[in-house]
């Protein structure tokens, strides 16, 4: 099948090895080790462990460190003379947590100081700086985030939704990851020694890398991203499958995607963290696929494990490998483990055409990329079109309870905002299996389980796409609290594992045995929309689960979520949809799709939205109800946008500010999407939403708008 080819036209990289492609290439050729005892923050007790710290970032104290690292890499990757960037996909797990930790320790209670806490703010600051108006997505799949971000960017390009995408990953050192990995006994006190017989773990690092991807080859083109493969082990929250089953699946999928056979691969850039389990499982997976493996090496003994940045950093290193003929060495390994594939001992210079780069993470989350010299293929300009996704089953959680009780309350014109009872929504989950899970993971599991049950099928969803604005606040809070209370000596390993944003989606996969893509997006109030967009780009033929959920946390929500108000009752919850590609045979199910996703730039974005929806006449014909998401923090802006939209299309149908009913929380739009599917199936608008109008839904569709700093549109309709 011929399709668009995707090129890395420029790249930026910053790590403990230096800043920029030239410094990084030189460091790789010198086989330099970037590890040194931590100095970034002082410790209350104990000796600093070796880390891979970036010492040379120009300090902009207004921004958290992850944001600064991301900006430095992006400035290298984007030529200021470049016309425009259509979209961004950025992976991060830390966001502003390093700054948040300091603020919490000094007892700061001014929410304004925490405004860069959210993961999505890393990509948002880049989008603002580079005037990117298209989709700006934030991926948080732990240590595979960078590779997953590049994979999603590839599909944005293949589908024709963008022609130039900035993709990458960034993470800074912080207490959460420094002490977290140590609490799991996954840190080598002598510094990471990947593939070594005596290896004891990783060294946590920091850094960022960005690639400017395009379907247009240029003189500056460094490499081609020929394919990607994503999978989930669905085996354990923090340990890889012992045989590397998911890793093998991801590598094989990347080769199929690129139409490249394993005999063509010249070098494998290992995930190679240096933990006994990872390196063993990865070697087993490679041996299972390659009868004679090509040279392999991990650069994490040099760069440390830069978490969400790692996949992007290593994609750039793979780009350097093919463009500058560098075969990087496996720094830190002195006595290779005879059980593993012997790694490349010293750097070499010779032509390499095809590099496989692996990135694996918590939640059994795997991503593999194939980076090649630009290939001479028969390229096509045809965009890859994908079937629409239809909803076979849906579930939601609100202060009123599940979908049925929520709809009943709305029929009685009662608000449903509130905090769903943990004991109620967890009641049908196996007590023993959820004993370690706190609020968000339990909500996610309850939602995903109910959505599948409501579909009437037993088939396991293959892929999981989850949106969460704030992630697992309870675990993050409890980890940091105990860390401080015990003078940094006894943080909880369980809380660390649970604190990663993709922990709930990983748990869903673990429960249901979902071994396909496992994506968590975290873009503030638009996280659910990002998850749905990712599903549209990545989901295959098999059913998938798309969900959005957020938890309210008494200490953290008032600090982090600018839409929280002490004058309204706290609210949380979410919604889940069990979906599959629509076929002619199943026309009775509602379809749900993202029709629009753009950064709000004055009224022109609303005008673009109207055009995208087919213009005034089409909007009148298609939609019988508009559910408008107006985040309290953006209320003046969002209200103005809605007013302009209504005026522009001369709207005479009911428009509902649904957050007034379901509450102000980041993934409220997931609840709106679920309610829309229920309204469509009943053909009846609940009294709370109907106003004085007739409660009959008179058009085949419902429009769900997201307003504020980003403008989104989801359409729910019967085909």
């Amino acid at each position: 099948m011929s399709r668009k080819q995707i090129y890395i036209n420029n790249a930026g990289i910053v790590s403990a090895l230096g800043s920029g492609c030239t410094q990084t290439a030189a460091a790789l050729l010198e086989n330099r080790r970037g590890l040194a005892p931590l100095t970034l923050f002082s410790l209350l007790s104990g000796k600093p462990l070796p880390v891979a710290q970036v010492d040379s970032i120009p300090l902009d104290s207004r921004l958290p460190r992850t944001h600064q690292l991301a900006m430095e890499a992006a400035l290298q990757a984007v030529d200021p003379a470049e016309v425009s960037i259509d979209a961004m996909v950025i992976g991060t797990t830390t966001g502003g947590i390093a700054t948040t930790e300091n603020l919490l320790r000094s007892g700061e209670t001014n929410p304004d100081l925490y405004r860069y806490h959210g993961l999505g703010t890393v990509a948002e600051q880049l989008a603002a700086h580079f005037c990117c108006s298209g989709p700006v997505l934030t991926v948080s799949t732990a240590c595979s985030s960078g590779a997953v971000a590049i994979s999603i960017a590839m599909e944005l390009l293949r589908s024709g939704q963008a022609t130039r995408v900035l993709a990458g990953g960034a993470d800074s050192l912080c207490r959460l990851t420094y002490f977290g990995f140590n609490s799991l006994q996954l840190v080598d006190p002598d510094g990471a020694r990947p593939m070594d017989t005596g290896r004891k773990g990783m060294s946590v690092g920091e850094g960022a890398a960005m690639v400017l991807l395009s379907t247009q080859k240029q003189n500056s083109t460094m490499a081609e991203v020929a394919g990607y493969g994503l999978s989930c082990d669905a085996y354990h929250p923090a340990t890889p499958h012992p045989e590397g089953k998911g890793a093998r699946q991801a590598m094989a999928a990347a080769m199929t995607d690129a139409n490249i056979h394993c005999t063509q691969i010249d070098y494998i850039n290992l995930h190679g963290t240096g933990t006994p389990d990872n390196d063993r499982a990865e070697s087993k997976a490679i041996k299972a696929l390659f009868s004679t493996p090509p040279p392999v090496s991990s650069i994490k003994g040099a760069t440390g494990h830069t978490l969400a940045a790692a996949g992007a950093i290593e994609a750039v290193v793979a780009g350097l490998a093919v463009s500058r003929e560098i075969l990087p060495a496996n720094q830190g390994c002195s006595i290779p483990d005879p059980e593993l594939i012997p790694p490349q001992k010293i750097p070499e210079r010779h032509p390499l055409k095809v590099v496989l780069s692996n990135s694996f993470g918590f939640g059994g989350n795997n991503g593999s990329l194939l980076i090649t010299t630009p290939r001479d293929l028969q390229q096509t300009n045809t965009a890859l079109s994908r079937p629409q996704l239809q909803v076979l089953g849906a579930a939601c959680l609100t202060g009123a309870g599940d979908l049925n009780t929520t709809m009943a309350a709305l029929q009685l014109q009662q608000p449903v905002a509130g905090l769903p009872e943990n004991s109620e929504f967890s009641a049908n989950l196996p007590a023993r299996k959820i004993r370690r899970l706190k609020r968000l993971a339990r909500m996610g599991l309850a939602l995903a389980t109910a959505a599948r049950e409501n579909s009437g099928t037993k088939e396991t969803p293959h892929d999981i796409f989850m949106g969460t604005g704030w992630g697992a606040l309870s675990e993050t809070h409890d980890f940091l609290k105990r860390l401080e209370e015990t003078d940094e000596q006894f943080p909880s390993p369980t809380d660390f594992i649970g604190s990663v944003h993709n922990a709930p989606a990983g748990q869903i996969a673990l429960f249901s045995g979902s071994t396909g893509a496992n994506i968590t997006c975290s873009g503030g109030n638009y996280s659910f929309e990002q998850a749905l967009l990712s599903a549209e780009l990545l989901a295959g033929d098999a059913p998938c689960c798309v969900l959005g959920a957020d938890e309210y946390h008494a200490s953290f929500t008032p600090l982090f979520d600018p839409s929280f108000s002490p004058h309204t009752p706290p609210a949380d919850g979410g919604g889940a949809l069990y979906m599959e590609q629509a076929t002619a045979a199943t026309r009775q199910y509602p379809c749900l799709q993202t029709s629009f996703y753009a950064q709000a730039i004055e009224n022109s974005t609303v005008t673009a939205l109207v055009e995208k929806l087919g213009g005034t006449a089409a909007i009148h014909q298609r939609f019988g109800l508009v559910l408008a998401g107006i985040p309290a923090a953006d209320q003046p802006l969002a209200t103005a946008q809605l007013r302009y939209f209504s005026k522009r299309v001369d709207l005479n149908i009911q428009v509902v500010d649904y957050r007034k009913y379901v509450g102000q929380f980041a993934s409220a739009s997931a609840v709106a999407a679920v309610l829309a599917t229920a309204i469509l199936l009943n053909r009846k608008i609940p009294a709370a939403f109907a106003g004085e109008n007739n409660t009959q839904l008179k058009r085949p569709g419902i429009l769900i708008l997201g307003l504020g700093r980003t403008i989104t549109a989801m359409e729910c309709y019967l085909p």
């Binding site: 929250p237 909880s492 369980t494």
Partner: protein, 92 residues
Amino acid sequence: MANQMNTLVEELKVKLIDILNLSDLTPADIDENAQLVGGEHGIDSIDVLEMVVMIEKDYGVKINNKEVGEKVFSTLTALARHIQDHSPGAAA
């Protein structure tokens, strides 16, 4: 000595139920001589890490070696004995 050991075993049962959220169990449900990790109560590697932290915090005994860990966490009795033998306050 035997009495102290019994007290420690009972104390550990209560702590385990608490830190591992085994809320459907009572101390009487835990057999101190049965397989602790991978046994009927579903205690796994993450729980072991949580127990390692608790043992260091509450008893001052470090367990940071996987091989030692496997032996120490074989049963609750083995764990109690290890704590008793290695705690800073243990009679020399």
